[in-house]
Subunit: 349 residues, 2 copies
């Protein structure tokens, strides 16, 4: 068997020339090419937006939801909700590794995929019979395929699965924050994390500290979160502001930094309308990193122009080499960060 | 009179706390604060999308279009089409300069505003009586206000007004390309400009050359544009590809660069769906600069993650200090670039 395309285009059935994520249908054949990996699936984690749409559509009827998920996977060769466009991720055990796979995985390893289900060839063999259709956690049997450029991370032995998945879900953020903070400046930069109490926000705080930021400001929406931040102990200053109010946000940041904007502003608030405030809160020559999927490209571009703001604006790329390991390292280095995550995922540590 | 907010929030009438661009209504009072500049308006250039909407709505009735533009400006204190949200720019003569204005303008200078009409306080005094409502070029009399952080550029003596405006319209692109190319790499980077035959694309080519890129690839959509690029003479290689076909685009770029992706990929194609191709066309560790307003933030972020692409993605900020002068400099340094622009704006040079 020869090697495939590293991005998986050889698995695209239709339309011709598309990449797997944009494809209508993938070929989930369990036979692997020399650079592919086959995973024996144990559980699908459906994307929250996708599961919500399915539950609403079927009025909470679990059997109908299960039937539709099965039908989608059978028709598309992948789990991509046709309405929301979103997928999720999966957990499984490495089943077969092609001799030319560059992923470094070994048979028998328990892994989570860090690429979306929307581009992962998937074949279900148990009719999802163990799933009641009432939760986005889907026990499943079947096979999934990883390409040469897919990303998967071994699940750590020393961490509950749900916690590890919550960390993996946002692991791109701390890795990129570390990179931006440690390489961009001659002297240590100041950092403001907007939405610091969430998962990507709190990991970004830890990364900024770890990368020796001169001063780290946590911006949160209310006093409850402010108290959480003080207990977390990773921020030099904690400020409360509405991130969608540009003048209030920039005032909160510049006040915390004694009259200057932040050298690096990290946006982790998942609501629309934070672009202008983030730009205004950033010092001339500084950098804004947008991780929120609610970010509007035109709002950011035209906002910075309208404010005559000489700032660099980065689209938060979810992939940075070593991101999963780095996020786990931060989590283990900060017990109170782990506590915060357990609160977020509803676990009792 | 005291100074105002440098971003103009003191001119916002409603809603309270908004920035001028997001405001429903601005105060266009001609009396200026100490850091403001008053411009005597000569002509408005309505944004193309805005004018199209108005013309369609009124079935091409020029008098009705004029009446609506007048009503919008009277109601909002600025020209911002409530349907498209867009504005345009204006040309005028500097009328009064506050003693603490940082803009460096002098009374009597003829200027173009480089910030949008959507955030510029505007008062019309002639009822737009010289405008027939049949073109987006609106002869007008009245006053406009510039803030401390507004941007305006003197119109050059040695260039037709229409050409200068076309250059100003995209002048952020070459300035940012120069910055990225000249500061990001230890050795000179290779550059691919996607959509190189347009205004921002061709200026980006010139900037990449000027910044001593190792090799510059112009990617265009057809042979007509390819011939224009060869005549322009600013690219080392010219490639033809559909920018919305990710595999075709990346193949065209890597072929032109002998098997490697570009260190810097500049996206100037104003159609949706170019994100994944641009990411795939970029070398590991490289940079993608998105200038197209059709760029989708989630498509770029999730695309790079799905492709496990370690690339930095920049939101093209339309403001870089000195951008207007630099673009005029490039235009004057390359007579064939000027020819190309004249073709684009329909002028006969």
């Amino acid at each position: 068997m020869s090697t495939g395309s590293p991005v998986g285009s050889h698995r695209v059935v239709s339309p011709a020339g598309a990449l797997p994520q944009a494809a209508v249908r993938l070929d989930p054949d369990p036979e692997i090419r020399d650079d592919e990996v086959r995973v024996s699936v144990e559980r699908l984690n459906l994307d929250a937006a996708s599961f919500r749409q399915l539950r609403t559509k079927h009025g909470g009827d679990g059997a109908a939801i299960r039937a539709e998920v099965l039908a989608i996977i059978a028709a598309r060769g992948k789990m991509q909700n046709p309405v929301t466009g979103s997928g999720g991720m999966l957990i499984g055990t490495v089943d077969a590794v092609g001799p030319r796979s560059p992923l470094g995985l070994e048979s028998g390893q328990k892994i989570a995929t860090l690429v979306s289900l929307t581009l992962t060839p998937l074949l279900i063999t148990d009719g999802l019979e163990r799933w009641d259709g009432e939760s986005e956690q889907v026990p499943a049997a079947g096979t999934a395929i990883l390409f040469g450029r897919s990303i998967a991370a071994p699940l750590p032995d020393d961490m509950p699965e749900a916690l590890a998945l919550a960390v993996f879900d946002v692991c791109g953020a701390p890795a990129l924050v570390r990179r931006v903070v440690s390489r961009r400046y001659h002297s240590a930069p100041t950092v403001a994390v907007i939405g610091a109490a969430g998962k990507s926000g709190s990991l970004s705080l830890a990364a900024a500290k770890d990368a020796h930021a001169a001063k780290v400001v946590a911006v949160v929406r209310d006093q409850v979160e402010a108290a959480q931040m003080r207990r977390l102990g990773l921020a030099d200053k904690v400020a409360v502001a509405d991130a969608t109010d540009p003048l209030a946000l920039s005032h909160a940041v510049t006040e915390a930094l004694r009259g200057r904007g932040a050298d690096v502003t990290v946006v982790c608030v998942d609501v629309p309308g934070c672009e202008h405030g983030a730009v205004l809160a950033t010092a001339t020559g500084g950098t804004v990193v947008f991780f929120s999927m609610a970010t509007s490209f035109p709002q950011a571009a035209l906002g910075a122009e309208g404010l005559a703001a000489d700032v660099e604006m980065l689209i938060g790329n979810g992939y940075v080499p070593g991101h999963a390991d780095y996020a786990l390292h931060l989590m283990n280095a900060h017990p109170r960060l782990k506590e915060l995550f357990n609160t977020r995922i509803g676990a009792h540590a």
